[in-house]
């Protein structure tokens, strides 16, 4: 089903990645020679580059082709996910201008690092081999560690970067240990080879032990419980646009990689990995719901919210079939759109004396800026999963997939924890609409208005025409099986 291509055609298949890497290097040179003045131009050029690459991803026909001797693969799934991550990355750069200017952080390395992280994400999504997967992860993670510590004058930002780096290195160690066990017991690093090997030798102990370590590493990358400890601190400490980036594109890419490697390399030991996925999914949903209740800082709240949402997305993976994969794809798309909108609002929480991050600062937002309050309320309703907003459909599809696969307990716990989760989202809406107004925020920059408007519009109007997304996700999910 998957066609191997000649060495030359490999480069055509990897054209989006190659364009992105070379483009990032050209922009880096531009920045090095033109200095700080060129930073904003480079940011705009980076957005253009990401859009061009997204166009290339859509343009190259993706019908299950394997390049570079089985290391790299494109299909409808990779096309969809790559498009999504590229849109996420471009939107984050687009949202960063005002913040970076106010924080005196205008450096040309910022968009370059986002571009290189995006290369890593594309490689993760297309990985069809354990080495390719690991290289993609490291490429992405290294750029993210630097971005977390990007604010060198802030102690908390440096702490966030260091913490992320140390824990990330630890998780990479676990991932590699798992990979080496899997390689040792199946004799190959290619996903299809691993599937063949497991088919021949059956679920032996070495492979399962390797799988456990491997999934621990992957769970760290999607910040699923019990490997979530870094998330709140890193989200809080990192500069806000970087937090917005962490919460969107890398999550989508890591989840896509999780989906592909688990479904294509371990189809014969579904029962074994399903237990792990069910456990981390339940743990993430429950922790995401309960731990967020006491939070005062909106970035920490979004960290717990993202842990919970990854748990919901994993419900679809636990189903382990095409419907499940389709539901994960729909979930991730809607999650990306909602999070971009919420972070556009968080980035607009600025007074004349600087950024504020306390949830209480949103008090009475409905009277100060009714439009922002309305859209933010809609986004939080959607994150909570209230119909007829997009977030409801996202949750609906994953729970439907779980029920179809007979995972009733998982679905029930998921619904219950989403009810608990609704409490803290609704509390913010109550603060915005019913509390005494706090001091006004500075007017929202135009770039943030555009992102918030688009995101809010898509979330509100999704129910009128969901067919394109559902169908695209269906095609993408089918290509995994």
């Amino acid at each position: 089903m998957n066609e191997q291509v000649s060495p030359f055609a490999s480069y055509v298949i990897a054209l989006p990645e190659i364009t992105l890497v070379l483009g990032a290097m050209v922009l880096l040179m531009l920045g090095v020679f033109r200095g700080r003045d060129a930073s904003e131009i480079i940011s705009w050029l980076s957005i253009v580059l990401l859009i061009v690459v997204a166009g290339l991803v859509l343009f190259i026909p993706a019908t299950g082709k394997v390049a570079f001797d089985g290391a790299f693969m494109i299909d409808a799934f990779s096309r969809f996910m790559k498009f999504l991550t590229l849109v996420g990355s471009a939107a984050v750069i687009f949202m960063s201008f005002a913040y970076m200017r106010h924080a005196r952080l205008v450096k040309f390395e910022y968009p370059i690092l986002i571009l290189l992280a995006s290369v890593g994400m594309l490689m993760m999504i297309s990985a069809n081999d354990l080495i390719a997967l690991y290289l993609g992860i490291e490429l992405q993670s290294l750029a993210l560690y630097v971005l977390a510590a990007f604010r060198t004058d802030s102690l908390r930002s440096s702490e966030a970067g260091l913490k992320y780096f140390v824990l990330g290195a630890l998780s990479s160690g676990m991932l590699l240990y798992g990979c080496s066990l899997i390689y040792g017991f199946t004799g190959t690093t290619g996903f299809s080879g691993i599937a063949d090997g497991i088919n021949t030798v059956g679920p032996n102990l070495g492979i399962i032990l390797g799988l456990v370590f491997f999934m621990a590493g992957l769970a760290f990358k999607v910040s699923a419980v019990p490997f979530h400890m870094w998330t709140p601190d890193v989200y809080e400490g990192a500069p806000t646009p970087v937090t917005a980036f962490f919460a969107t594109a890398p999550k989508v890419a890591a989840m896509a990689m999780f989906l592909r490697v688990i479904l294509s390399a371990f189809p014969d030991i579904t029962h074994q990995w399903q237990q792990i996925v069910v456990f981390i999914s339940i743990a993430s949903m429950v922790l995401g719901a309960f731990a967020a209740i006491g939070q005062r800082d909106i970035k920490r709240l979004m960290a717990y919210s993202s842990i919970g949402h990854m748990g919901f997305a994993l419900v679809g993976l636990a189903a382990g079939d095409a419907t499940g994969a389709q539901s994960v794809i729909i979930y991730l798309t809607i999650y990306l759109v909602m999070n971009l909108g919420v972070f556009a609002c968080i980035l607009a929480m600025r007074r004349s004396d600087g950024m504020v991050e306390e949830i209480d600062e949103l008090a009475g937002l409905s009277r100060n800026s009714p439009m922002m309050a309305f859209l933010l309320a809609m986004l939080f309703f959607s994150l909570a999963g209230i119909p007829p907003l997009a977030g409801f459909f996202a949750k609906f599809y994953v729970f439907l997939a779980a029920i179809n696969a007979g995972l009733y307990t998982l679905a029930v716990i998921g619904v219950l924890s989403s009810v608990v989760g609704a409490y803290y989202y609704l509390r913010i809406i109550k603060i915005m609409y019913l509390d005494e107004p706090a001091e006004k925020f500075e007017p929202m920059p135009g770039t943030l208005k555009i992102v918030l408007g688009l995101s809010g519009g898509l979330v509100i109007l999704f129910f009128t025409y969901p067919a394109p997304l559902v169908q695209a996700a269906n095609v993408a999910a089918k290509s995994l099986f």
Binding site: K107, L142, F150, N204
Partner: protein, 204 residues
């Protein structure tokens, strides 16, 4: 055969002894030197196994770069190793207990395993026999052809780490005098020296 065995025991014994000295030496500089000894003896073990490429890499990368870097860090930074070690001793019992439990678990779980013989037919890139193709040649045959994608990706990873190091540490502070070789070289005698006639008995 006997000589190879003797060398194996020689290298192995030196390696273990040196590794022990790394953690027990009082002077951190001695620790690093013992680390180098441990690396060199492991390189000897690799040569005995016929993996000469790994042996070279161990010497070039670990001894030549990593250990020297350690040495620099130990000598340049004022780290109080005695204090670090006092913490180490208080945590030693609990650490040892956890380590032993882990070891027992691993032995119990993994002790009874064998690698299934059928798996040999699944190996995608089998290592050619060492009497036909040398290690380095075997690596060279695949590194830039079959694994070109990985090779290039690893290059990009290194580029990112370089950018990261520069972004996080390089700060352009105003008022720092920097060396410009071009300006130094292009200076002429006329613009550098000024000759003043000082009248005797008056001073400047």
């Amino acid at each position: 055969m006997l000589i190879a065995d003797l060398f194996f025991y020689l290298f192995a014994a030196i390696c273990v002894a040196a590794a022990f000295m790394v953690i027990s030496a009082r002077n951190p500089v001695h620790s690093v030197l013992f680390l180098i000894l441990a690396f060199v003896s492991s390189a000897g073990l690799f040569i005995l196994l016929g993996a000469e490429f790994l042996a070279f890499i161990l010497i070039v990368v670990y001894v030549g770069a990593v250990a020297v870097l350690f040495l620099f860090v130990v000598m340049m930074l004022d780290v109080d190793f005695a204090e670090l070690r006092s913490g180490f001793l208080t945590y030693l019992p609990i650490g040892a207990v956890i380590g032993i439990i882990l070891l027992i678990e691993l032995v119990l779980v993994l002790g009874s395993w064998v690698i299934t013989p059928q798996i040999a037919s699944h190996i995608t890139t089998p290592i050619p026999p060492s009497n036909e193709v040398s290690n380095i040649e075997a690596l060279g045959l695949v590194l830039y052809t079959k694994y070109v994608y990985f090779f290039q990706a690893a290059g990009v990873v290194l580029l990112i780490s370089m950018i990261g190091a520069i972004v996080l540490t390089l700060q352009h502070k105003p008022g720092i005098k920097r060396q410009s070789v071009a300006r130094q070289v292009s200076r002429t005698r006329d613009e550098s020296i000024e000759i003043k006639k000082v009248e005797s008995g008056k001073g400047l």
